[in-house]
């Protein structure tokens, strides 16, 4: 049986002698998941459980004049009704409070106003209709550029633009204006022989996780609280609860359940505080499960954007200047991903002169949240088409053009940092050598496009403990929620470091009471950053065990070493103990051994993962329908701890990117209603819409990680829309300036309608 294309060995230039890292063991939790036994957010059940539902604003922008809950409170089967008044006075930040349960204004359709706990979800839902709310409806602002205008309706009277010049004097919908400047852009453009400028608009897109948010809260007689929730980060949820409930962190235990997809969207907390408030008032545990329409209307998608890009190059092919303006919708409260969009927009290139302006703008839509490489996809959709256009005008092959201009070690980014060793050129070369790049298209109305993207990985704070069992197995605990197979990847790094087989390592995700603070599983940090913690914990274990061997043998500990097979001492070559043999002697030599690793990976210089994607698409020129025929994603992952995981991340990220490119978006009516709050009309790709995605792993080890690991899980979504747009250009001769590239839009661009 021939090896399937995507299971070839990764491309690497270094010989490796690793035993666990680089293998493909089955993932922790997989058996429970196929059995249906894995416990996800809504699967939690407790005695005397009540069910909570949230009342949400039907208006995109309105003042709340009054909220009367009396009729709902009296409804049979209702045990508690809460509003913002039930939040402790002064607890938390104003925007945080307001987005949990609205204060005096609602700022988007779906904005939570009140919640009910009742005997059944049906009763809770019926009782919602009995809450009387009086509104003064205000005009909504729904377009990012409209919101930036001086005469636009204001969402927040207190919001003033922050910029390099400090805080502005008068209120605005622009929360922040950031700017990066490198070199002298005006001079650079003056030197350019070719200049291309284009503007692009992209819609908000939802992460589309199949599992809605769900949270179950239980108060204990001593006034402490336990919350089970499907989240990407139990500790930030604990912080959020502590802040808004005015409760000390140690009194709160957040237990992360299995999570049915997050992609950044479950790094935000929506119903945890509400569940806790209801449970406290009702005196019984309460479970709140969001419906799909609530998820689509009221949880944070990724921002819609307006992006203008201008780039200039010389005839010899060198890009000499670049400029970008990024206006990102933050939703109802400040904090879009414009910062990371601004960071990634030119990240792949060595550009001597550049300026990037980013604007974080509030609009009457739900507060945006992260979505896999937040901010990057629209930015790369824009830049990669402009780069393609420059290459075409200069008559240079698009891959060669990128090779000529790509960033390398030492290149200083527009946002300031110089790159450490990163495989930009290696990825481009691997793509160029790949048979896909030169394969025939095989039919009419077909085109091939490429796009180059980068996403930096964050390391964050992680904790990990490893306890040695007397039989030589170890129990590993981490605070990192298991997404994307990361738990297995973390355990594999520990196993490698300890010289054990993976099956000797039992790994579990701990709750907030059982381990130290650990940041969200997001930002491509988990296998990388918590891997660092696991390695540190493993090294701690080894150090302790070396001391035990020293005691057993009566030799100085400096003479004891461990080569991941046996402990030996230079004093006496006949003395050897395997890990298992030494483990059996721990009680006799001083008691249990427990290693810990608590790291802040961000003290290390940050790396990232570049990716070059090649997309073949076919267009039906009469209908505008696009089919993706073939897709290759080449990516530097540093070192693939579990190549199957990395490939899975690449396949999944590309699938999401295809949805983003062609089908998906949150479309709003003039009154701010979400027009497509269902999975019928928020069109996630089906099995018929995604071709086999071939991942090509390139390994340029990250120098700061002991095994060279890079955070790799987000980059795969970044270049997809750009690659498909560039392919459509080849077929239609038109640049695509909008996302999604729906059939109607494609026909419009072609002048057919």
């Amino acid at each position: 049986m021939s090896t399937p294309r995507d299971e070839r060995k990764p491309v690497t230039d270094e010989p490796v002698s690793l035993r666990v890292i680089g293998t493909r063991p089955p993932l922790y939790g997989a058996v429970d998941k196929v059995l249906g036994r894995a416990v996800f957010g809504a699967d939690v059940s407790l005695p005397e459980l009540l069910h909570g539902k949230v009342l949400r604003s039907p208006h995109a922008h309105a003042r709340i004049l009054s909220v009367d809950t009396r009729r709902a409170e009296g409804y049979p089967g209702v045990h508690a009704v809460v509003t913002a008044r039930d939040l402790p006075e002064g607890a938390g930040e104003q925007f945080e409070r307001d987005n949990t349960l609205a204060g005096d204004k609602v700022l988007y359709v779906g904005h939570p106003i009140a919640a009910i706990a009742a005997e059944s979800p049906h009763i809770a839902e019926e009782a919602l209709a009995l809450i009387d709310v009086q509104y003064e409806v205000l005009p909504p602002v729904l377009d990012v550029r409209r919101a930036m205008q001086a005469d636009a309706p204001l969402l927040h009277e207190t919001l003033r633009t922050w910029s390099l010049a400090g805080q502005a004097a008068s209120p605005s919908n622009v929360a922040e204006h950031l700017q990066h400047v490198k070199g002298d852009p005006e001079q650079g453009f003056a030197e350019a022989d070719v200049i291309v400028e284009r503007s692009f608009t992209t819609t908000m897109v939802h992460q589309g996780y199949i599992e809605p948010h769900a949270s179950t809260a239980l108060w204990h007689p001593d006034g402490s609280l336990t919350v089970w929730t499907c989240t990407q980060g139990a500790f930030p949820v604990r912080e959020h609860l502590s802040s808004l409930l005015d409760l000390p962190m140690a009194r709160i235990r957040v237990v992360p359940t299995e999570i049915g997809g997050g992609f950044g969207g479950k790094a935000s907390s929506y119903v945890d505080v509400v569940a806790a408030l209801l449970a406290r008032k009702a005196g019984r545990p309460v479970k709140v499960v969001m419906g799909r329409d609530e998820v689509l209307k009221a949880t944070g998608p990724t921002p819609g954007t307006f992006i203008r890009v201008r780039m200039g190059a010389r005839r010899d092919g060198r890009i000499v200047a670049a400029e970008a303006e990024l206006c990102y919708e933050a939703g109802a409260y400040p904090g879009s991903s414009v910062g990371s969009g601004a960071d990634t927009i030119f990240a792949c290139y060595d550009i001597p002169n550049a300026r990037v302006d980013g604007y974080d703008v509030v609009v009457n839509k739900p507060k945006t949240s992260s979505y896999r490489a937040p901010g990057a996809t629209p930015a790369v959709f824009a830049v990669e088409q402009v780069v393609d256009e420059l290459a075409e005008r200069l008559g240079i092959d698009p891959l060669d053009f990128r090779l000529l201009n790509c960033a390398r070690e030492g290149t200083r980014r527009v946002s300031g940092q110089p790159y450490p060793r990163v495989g930009f050129a290696e990825v481009l070369q691997a793509a160029k050598a790949h048979p896909h790049y030169s394969a025939p298209l095989g039919g009419p109305n077909r085109g091939r496009g490429i796009a180059f993207g980068y996403w930096g990985n964050w390391a964050g704070q992680s904790c990990c403990t490893i306890s040695v069992n007397a039989d030589g197995t170890v129990s590993l605990l981490t605070g990192s929620v298991d997404v994307s197979g990361a738990l297995t990847g973390i355990a594999m790094q520990a196993a490698e470091e300890l010289g054990l087989e993976l099956r000797q390592v039992q790994a579990r995700v701990a709750d907030t009471a059982s381990i130290g603070y650990t940041d969200v599983s997001a930002g491509s940090r988990t296998t990388f950053g918590t891997g660092l913690a696991a390695i540190e914990a493993a090294r701690d274990v080894i150090a302790q065990m070396r001391a035990r061997a020293a005691r057993l043998w009566g030799v100085p500990v400096e003479t004891v070493s461990y080569d991941r097979v046996v402990f030996t001492t230079s004093v006496d070559p006949t003395k050897r103990l395997s890990f298992r043999e030494l483990a059996a002697q721990l009680s006799a030599t001083g008691g249990p051994v427990m290693g810990r690793g608590n790291v802040d990976g961000d003290v290390l210089r940050r790396g990232g993962a570049p990716g070059l994607h090649i997309a073949d698409v076919e267009l039906d020129p009469e209908t505008g329908k696009v089919t993706v025929l073939r897709y290759t994603a080449v990516q530097d992952v540093g070192r693939a701890v579990h190549p199957g995981n990395v490939e899975g991340q690449i396949k999944g990220g590309v699938a999401q990117g295809i949805g983003w490119a062609l089908y998906e978006g949150c479309f709003y009516g003039e009154d701010g209603q979400l027009l497509n709050p269902t999975l019928l009309d928020n069109k996630l790709p089906t099995a018929m819409d995604i071709p086999v995605v071939e991942p090509v792993i390139v390994e340029v080890p990250d120098p700061v990680h002991p095994y060279g690991v890079r955070g790799a899980g987000e980059t795969p979504i970044v270049p997809v829309a750009g690659a498909i747009a560039n392919a459509l250009y080849r077929i239609t001769g038109r640049r695509m300036e909008r996302l999604p590239m729906t059939p109607a839009y494609v026909l419009e661009r072609m002048g057919v309608i």
């Binding site: 049915g260 999401q656 995605v693």
Partner: protein
């Protein structure tokens, strides 16, 4: 009377009896009354397939069936796939081929795949994709799921041949 109806059915081969309100979906009854939480809720309007089960041998979205409608019927959920000898070939194949990541769509996907293989023991890739189009997956990009189904089909055909000979 509180308006509840008595329902008798066979679920995963076991006779079951429960009381439910007519407005409670089969999905709710499975999860909240019978404690079978393997079947998942994704959308409650038939657009994601996470709640897929077999009803009288047919693949259905349990969010679009009322509990009262299964009276006298037979239901298979993910909890009914594994046998006394271990995992169902589909379950094993999903693990072997890494056909799941978060695992939330997996119960529905397994039932959908089973419904297909019950009818067509040797489906083409195209047929598998068409059949599974009603089951959304946001994590895997689908091709490993397709491969797992093909592999399970192969194993099941082989086991059937062995049985026939023996």
């Amino acid at each position: 009377m509180d308006g509840k109806v008595r329902v008798q059915a066979t679920i995963n081969g076991q006779p079951v009896e429960f009381l439910c309100e007519p407005r409670q979906s089969l999905l709710e009854c499975l999860r909240d009354i019978l404690g079978l939480t393997g079947t998942k809720e994704g959308c409650s309007d038939g657009n994601c397939g996470a709640c897929s089960v077999l009803l009288n041998g047919r693949l259905v979205n349990s969010c679009l069936v009322l509990g009262v409608e299964i009276d006298g019927g037979e239901v298979t959920t993910v909890e009914g796939l594994a046998g006394p000898d271990g995992l169902h070939p589909l379950q094993q194949a999903f693990i072997d081929h890494a056909a799941l990541q978060c695992g939330y769509c997996t119960p529905g996907m397994l039932l959908a795949a089973k419904a297909l293989l019950d009818r067509d023991p040797d489906p083409s890739e195209e047929r598998i994709r068409q059949w599974l189009a009603g089951n959304l997956c946001r994590c895997t990009g689908y091709d490993r799921i397709v491969r797992a189904v093909q592999d399970a089909a192969r194993r099941m055909r082989r086991d059937a041949d062995v049985h026939a000979e023996g």
